[in-house]
């Protein structure tokens, strides 16, 4: 009888010593992350960085070390090739940006990106689809006394476009942010029909978390209505899923963004763009 209690005691003791295991990080292999685009009428823009490890926090100095400033970046349309030059722009993160100057985007043309860095060659290809203009866009408040509201847009849908709507609030935001569910295919809508939708401001996580979907009255909002290749549509859809659903227990996100970069990750994308300015009065 007594020995059974010894056994029970030892068993309890052994298990009581079991500690909660910490999460073990998996092996970190840095990749070159690319965020590059070329719009109709504008030169190419490319941001380069190395992916950062997960196992320790980064201060500003450490973060800067992840930025790639010594790469040779070139863009070609098949006829001309331009080597991009490095500049500083604190509106963006990372703040070092490779700019084009002479080679400007033309609708229907294909553009190849080539990055030579640290004995690696990273490449990608895109094209600029035909842009689609909006018929109109306007700001709507639920009631006249409201201080917030939504922007509505209307256009004629085409048969094969992949749309993206992005906005930037003047004086408050430095980059255009894709709208919430503002990345969609023409096939999801009625072909050749006049489409009207309410757009929802996209989420921002840096430098401050901002999940409001509405715009404030009295702002100047710049709106880009873009068409993009399928690769852009896939990338931005996965980007939004990553931001919104990383913690979603029903539809969890645990896959990489759908990249078109050979030898790295990220996106090189051509956009057919119309830009609009809206006063939210």
């Amino acid at each position: 009888m007594k020995r059974y209690f010894y056994i029970l005691g030892i068993t309890l003791l052994l298990v009581s010593c079991a500690e909660e295991n910490a999460v073990q990080f998996i092996e970190y292999t840095p990749k070159v992350a690319v965020e590059g685009w070329i719009e109709n009428g504008f030169p190419a823009v490319v941001l380069l960085s190395r992916t950062a490890p997960f196992d320790h926090p980064l201060d500003t100095t450490a973060l800067m070390k992840q930025i790639i400033t010594s790469a040779k970046v070139s863009v070609s349309d098949g006829e001309q090739t331009e080597i991009l030059t490095l500049g500083v722009n604190y509106d963006y993160m990372p703040p070092y940006i490779y700019y084009g100057q002479t080679l400007r985007g033309e609708t229907g043309k294909t553009y190849t990106l080539k990055i030579e860095y640290n004995n690696q060659v990273i490449s990608a290809e895109t094209y600029i689809p035909e842009p689609v203009p909006l018929d109109s866009c306007w700001f709507v408040k639920t009631s006249p006394s409201d201080t917030t509201g939504y922007i509505h847009v209307r256009w004629k849908n085409t048969s094969d476009a992949y749309y993206q709507i992005a906005t930037k609030v003047a004086q408050k935001e430095t980059v255009y942010t894709p709208c919430l569910y503002g990345n969609f295919s023409a096939a999801q809508l009625t072909v050749d029909a006049i489409v009207e939708i309410q757009i929802n401001k996209g989420p921002m996580l840096f430098p401050k978390i901002q999940f409001n979907t509405y715009f404030s009255a009295g702002e100047t909002v710049y709106l880009k209505f873009r068409t993009q290749p399928k690769a852009g549509y896939d990338f931005w859809t996965s980007w939004q899923n990553e931001i919104l659903n990383a913690q979603n227990p029903i539809f969890p996100a645990h896959t990489n963004l759908i990249s078109n970069i050979q030898g790295g990750t990220g996106l090189w994308c051509g956009y057919g763009t119309y830009t609009y300015q809206i006063e939210t009065q």
């Binding site: 992916t51 950062a52 509505h152 969609f184 996580l205 919104l244 979603n248 029903i250 969890p252």
Partner: protein, 687 residues
């Protein structure tokens, strides 16, 4: 005297039998019966366990009531997880993982009728009301030819159908749910069994969460509202000496609300099962012959609202089926043959999506219809006193858009060296035409079923196993060791995203590959005495290979468990008091973890490592239970789940966050867990 002792102390009894016993239609009085070939759990005991012989493992009927159970609810399926080869599924998971297979690979039957369910949320509640059940069988090795349609094991739950001598009511009153079962003899030949269960989780759950999980703000579980109820009905009776009819019905419904303010997410989920069957048992030339018609259905609806997007999803499946069987003897062979037919009607995913003013073009969601039929022949023959062979042949035909067929040989060879030692070897070939897909990787019950077609490939597999069984000291101690190896073709991995539901069908989000699993299963147990119990250990590996995942490299399946150990021990002080202990250790689940991060559009995003390349922390848990029986079948149960308050996370995620005060960009790791120490008290009654 020994039998009396067993009954009085409700100890666990196991034995090993050289050959598998065929279950009679009226189940035996034994309560848990385990062999290398099949496992049977019965919830109640009326007679002592007898005929303990080598190769058959039997658990005393009352034993299940004496084991620790989460919140006092006896869960027969969770009890199976404490035996070799059935992997521990962790907390909050309602799936069953057997010998490295996927959850959809095992066939769940309710009175031999396919039963489709996602289980009950959070793992709090047993799938079935144990008081309504007579027996639960698990066929793990040497699956008989009468079972088909799945790649893995078969679990058959049988309801009570033995005529009761008198009217009785039994049940359980717990903190979060209650249940009651009425046994009513209508006359000398007919009887009715009626059971009901209902939860009142919301009354007490939130205070429990607030006192445990929610103390840590990072792991808070809020906005959680869950309830379910189910009803079982059985009417059985003898029309004549040869003829018996049985009518069964089941209906269950779950409702779950969730809101996550951080994600701008709220939604609700409902899932329902219903089942109705009529069975006629008769005899032709004094040989048992039975036939049954039934309908079995499952329906799952989800409403989700995230930010400005609203998504409604419906998934449903209905089976209308007929099956018969005939058993006879020929040339010293025990033979069984039968015909089975199922008409499936499926709507795997019906979506309705609204984004304020935007209308999405509806896809074609018309129901799919499929026909599944099978004929089989199986034989059991004692070749000599020592050798016995069971063989079977099953032919399957399946039609949806195109005709598919398969032939499945089954073989079980047994050798009995002496009264205490036996060996066994088995081979199964199995095919699966109805596949289960699960969008949630964290156990939210959203499973749906799809039928094989031109786009959806059927699955097939082979399993080999061999075992050794030994008893000692007049069967007081028993030891078994079994190895298995199985191959699986066209297994799937399903990746569904919230936004991806807009323009991709489930076929687009489905990947196909192959899998294999192998392992060693060990069991040692003590049958008699005040102190009884068993130790179960499984060393196993389950892997998958998909061309599109991890560059075609082989990766571990999500519930690949290298080590899975269970200790069950019961000590009986006297007829009034007993105490029991369960300890579980299991290797953590495989999952996908980010390896690095980078900025895109001013936003940190994660770069994930190889699929399933990371491991959750090992699973550790000990439960204790004390019973006080003030009279037979009436008592109070005190249980403590997870005595040592070990944090076993349900899932882990990482976010990159910018600390505006320090300027640091840091990784935030969150481990979501539901419960650690969970005490409970419940009252068990019968009158």
């Amino acid at each position: 005297m020994k039998i009396k002792s067993i009954l009085a102390s409700s100890i666990l009894l196991f034995s090993l039998a050289a050959h598998s016993a065929e279950l009679p239609d009226s189940p035996p009085d034994s309560i848990l019966y385990i062999s290398g070939q099949e496992i049977i759990v019965t919830p109640l005991q009326k007679k002592p366990v007898t005929g303990l012989s080598v190769g058959k493992i039997t658990l005393d009927p009352a034993a299940a009531l004496h084991l620790p159970a989460l919140l006092g609810n006896t869960d027969l399926l969770k009890l199976l997880e404490l035996t070799p080869g059935i992997q521990n599924s962790g907390d909050a998971n309602t799936h069953l993982y057997i010998r490295g297979g996927d959850p959809g690979h095992h066939l769940l039957l309710y009175n031999e009728i396919p039963f489709y369910t996602s289980g009950h949320l959070l793992g709090f509640f047993p799938l079935f009301n144990a008081d309504h059940l007579a027996v639960l069988e698990l066929h793990k090795t040497g699956v008989p030819a009468r079972y088909g349609g799945r790649l893995g094991s078969v679990i058959d739950v049988r309801t009570k159908n033995r005529l009761p001598e008198k009217t009785s009511v039994q049940g359980n009153v717990g903190l979060l749910s209650s249940q009651a079962t009425l046994q009513l003899p209508l006359n000398e030949k007919f009887a009715l069994f009626l059971s009901g269960r209902k939860t009142y989780l919301n009354l007490l759950m939130q205070p429990v969460l607030n006192a445990t999980v929610n103390k840590n703000a990072k792991n808070r579980v809020d906005g959680l509202d869950y309830s379910f109820y189910d009803v079982n009905f059985t009417l059985t009776g003898d029309l004549s000496e040869k003829d018996r009819v049985t009518v069964d019905a089941f209906f269950g419904q779950d409702h779950f609300d969730i809101s996550e303010e951080d994600l701008l997410l709220n939604g609700n989920l409902r899932w329902q099962n219903y089942l109705l069957s009529a069975k006629w048992d008769s005899r032709i030339r004094n040989n048992p012959w039975s036939q049954r018609v039934y309908v079995s259905a499952y329906r799952n609806t989800l409403f989700t609202h995230q930010a400005e997007m609203t998504l409604d999803r419906l998934s449903e499946l209905q089976d209308i089926g007929y099956q018969n069987s005939y058993r006879f003897s020929l040339w010293n062979n025990q033979l069984e043959t039968g015909l089975q037919y199922i008409f499936h009607t499926l709507r795997p995913q019906v979506y309705s999506i609204r984004n304020v003013a935007m209308d999405y073009q509806p896809a074609d969601f018309s129901p799919e219809q499929a026909h599944e039929a099978a004929v089989y022949l199986s034989s059991t023959q004692n070749i000599t006193d020592q050798w016995k062979v069971d063989w079977g042949l099953r032919y399957n035909g399946f039609f949806q858009e195109q005709f598919m067929q398969s032939l499945e040989p089954r073989l079980l060879l047994q050798y009995r060296l002496n009264e205490t030692t036996s060996f066994r070897a088995a081979y199964n070939r199995q095919n699966q035409y109805l596949n289960s897909l699960s969008p949630s990787s964290v156990g939210i019950p959203m499973d749906f079923w799809v039928a094989a077609s031109r786009q959806i490939r059927p699955q097939s597999g082979n399993e080999f196993s061999a075992g050794y069984f030994q008893s000692f000291n007049k069967e007081n101690f028993e030891l078994s060791a079994e190895i298995f190896y199985k191959t699986m073709n066209h297994v799937n991995e399903y990746f569904q995203t919230f936004a991806g539901s807009l323009d991709e069908s489930y076929e687009d989000q489905l990947l196909y590959g192959s899998g294999h699993a192998y392992g060693l299963e060990l069991l040692f147990k003590r049958n008699y005495g005040r102190w009884t119990g068993w130790l179960s250990y499984t060393l196993a590996r389950s892997e998958r290979t998909f061309e599109e995942i991890n560059q075609g490299k082989t990766f571990p399946a999500r519930f690949d468990r290298r080590h899975d150990l269970s200790l069950v021990s019961v000590y009986t002080f006297n007829p009034h008091w007993d105490i029991s202990l369960v300890y579980v250790y299991a290797t953590g689940n495989a999952y996908t973890l980010p390896s690095s991060w980078y900025f895109i559009n001013h936003t940190p995003v994660k770069e994930y490592g190889d699929y399933n390349s990371a491991r959750m922390p090992d699973y550790n848990r000990m439960d204790l239970s004390v019973n006080y029986w003030y009279k037979k079948n009436n008592g109070i149960n005190f249980s403590v789940y997870n005595v040592w308050m070990i944090n076993n996370p349900v899932y882990i995620f990482m976010n990159v966050e910018h600390n505006e005060n320090t300027g640091l960009i840091q990784v935030n790791i969150k481990q979501k867990k539901l419960y650690t120490l969970t005490p409970s008290v419940s009252w068990r009654f019968q009158f």
